[in-house]
Symmetry: C2
Subunit: 339 residues, 2 copies
């Protein structure tokens, strides 16, 4: 069952459940407070490969295999797979998924990729065209640094509002088979560009998109913030989170008591100086697939709204002086109360 | 109505129709045999912008506005929009769609983007969650050359099996409202990598994926090649087309009498030396949105199978010696026989 509610939202009723999930992180992520929620921490930044790029693909591939192995399945058992990442032409995902024989649809939402994949994956199960569907994404600090910023050897410095690309990944497998956690609703975001041109200031570029999608979600569904235990932003970091709360407050919505930002939660700021917080597709993907869904399953939370945020920029366009469009898609999860 | 048939295919029944379409091309495309099928030919490769990258976005934006204006609508009237392109981080699309206020989902399928967008757009209409949905893509010769190959000023030479990125774009608007052309079925492709490492040889890299998807389509649907007037490949070019026909023939499927390759059809090889043919997301997008759907509407063809093909490569990974994974998604169109 899939039904549109309002202009931009979807209601999946009780037709889509989390069948499995997995999260893998790198060394700095393993030093963070969410360490115990990862399925694996890999301290070798090459993941046994010859390049950082191959490492990113291996990270993603390993997470996908891990998620499926927990339910005694193989990735090829999925009816459809949605993947994307930050590498040019999304090749991190393409190379990760090469070798599997599964219907594959590449997506691009920058750091909003996890929620975009989730809403498409959930839609395919809810519409009855997939029995088992999956989505995954990853990011790698070393590939992102040299692609978007400087070679690591250069030792470039960043402004305090910059963020740290997580070496992490998440994969979620969905099916119609009832489980402890249901995917309940989704809101498709629109592109919002408020004119931020500083490529280091992604939190500010994405905050307006987060605010827009959260407002749309409540307007479309008739729900209020108190219907959720947590309203999760992807990787706004400390500056972006503060801006987002201000923007929502200006629109009459106070979510401050239940706001949670994956970028602020992933790292231990004493052990790893990540400036304004974590970022990258894998940041919110791993925090959701590892920590958040675990806390939902064990009953600490009953309902969360997961809103991964993306900065739709490229290094080349930023050098041309273009501003950075942001986007945010929302997906809600519910703990299923077994009678 | 949306229904899965076989492992990888979808049947939309009679629930999805082409509401509007538009195609825009550049100068070399206007010199080609399909000139009269374009809605606009723009001879200024800058499209009035300051960079080739902004030109690519302007090309896409203009095509989107053109498609919607034909039915008295604005892009914002769409319930969901699927876009993607070849620029790093798909920013050609992001910047094109910035300024519109429409639920937006970014996709990446390299030159298979048109069929990936179509199958997602058709699915959203068929599943009843969108009344009006759209997808679009574009490519630009000048942005692709400098991003994937060499600066234009370098005047680099290419091997004879290389292809020429089209400066072209296509947008298709779908709805449930009956029209002359129905979107009937789709097959989601899987990644196929046969080890081609030469980034100039994209036809060879994509041909196995085309063959795989065509075989899956007929296996899933129970149809045979004679059920289609044309079986269209995206941009295999002359070498890739020949390889694809051989591969299918080895698998007992002869489609030679009804095979049509958009890359071979777009340019006039006397006026423009495009080597093995056209390529780029915009090539098959424009040939479909301009020529093919026109010929379907006026009854020259009754049923076509459109299979855009993508090479999931990046310049960086190719320099690292990686082989090029290919993918192909298929979407079929039918002329509606009005009683």
């Amino acid at each position: 069952m899939i039904r549109r509610i309002g202009h931009k939202s979807l209601d999946f009723g009780d037709s889509v459940y989390v069948a499995s999930r997995s999260a893998i992180g790198g060394k700095a992520e393993g030093d963070g407070p969410l360490c115990s929620y990862f399925d694996e921490i890999v301290t070798d930044e090459y993941f046994g490969q010859k390049s950082f790029e191959d490492a990113e693909s291996e990270l993603l591939r390993r997470t996908v295999v891990s998620a499926f192995s927990k339910i005694g399945k193989m990735p090829d058992d999925a009816d459809v797979f949605f993947c994307g990442d930050l590498e040019n032409q999304c090749v991190g995902s393409s190379y990760a998924m090469t070798g599997f024989s599964v219907p594959y649809l590449g997506i691009y939402g920058a750091c909003s990729t996890m929620s975009e994949g989730l809403l498409l994956s959930a839609s395919s199960v809810a519409a009855g065209v997939a029995e088992l569907s999956a989505n995954a994404t990853a990011s790698h600090f070393c590939t992102a640094e040299r692609q978007f910023r400087f070679p690591l050897e250069y030792g470039g410095q960043k402004p305090p509002y910059a963020q740290w690309t997580a070496t992490a990944s998440g994969c979620i497998v969905l099916s119609g088979e009832p489980s402890a956690v249901r995917v309940r609703r989704a809101t498709v975001g629109k592109i919002v560009d408020k004119g931020i041109c500083d490529a280091a200031n992604m939190g500010a570029a994405m905050a307006p998109a987060f605010a827009d999608t959260v407002l749309s979600h409540f307007s479309d569904t008739g729900l209020t913030p108190s219907d959720y235990d947590l309203i999760v932003s992807g990787d706004l970091g400390s500056l972006g989170s503060s801006l987002a709360l201000d923007l929502l407050s200006q629109n009459g919505l106070d979510i401050s008591s239940r706001h949670f930002d994956c970028g602020k939660a992933l790292f231990d700021p004493i052990k790893t100086d990540v400036h304004a917080g974590g970022s990258g597709c894998g940041c919110s993907a791993a925090v959701l697939s590892g920590y958040l869904l675990n806390e939902l399953e064990r009953g600490r939370y009953s309902r969360i709204l997961f809103c991964a945020t993306g900065a739709l920029m490229s290094a080349g366009r930023s050098r041309q002086g273009k501003s950075i469009p942001g986007i945010c898609h929302a997906v809600s999860f519910e703990l299923v109360k077994f009678a």
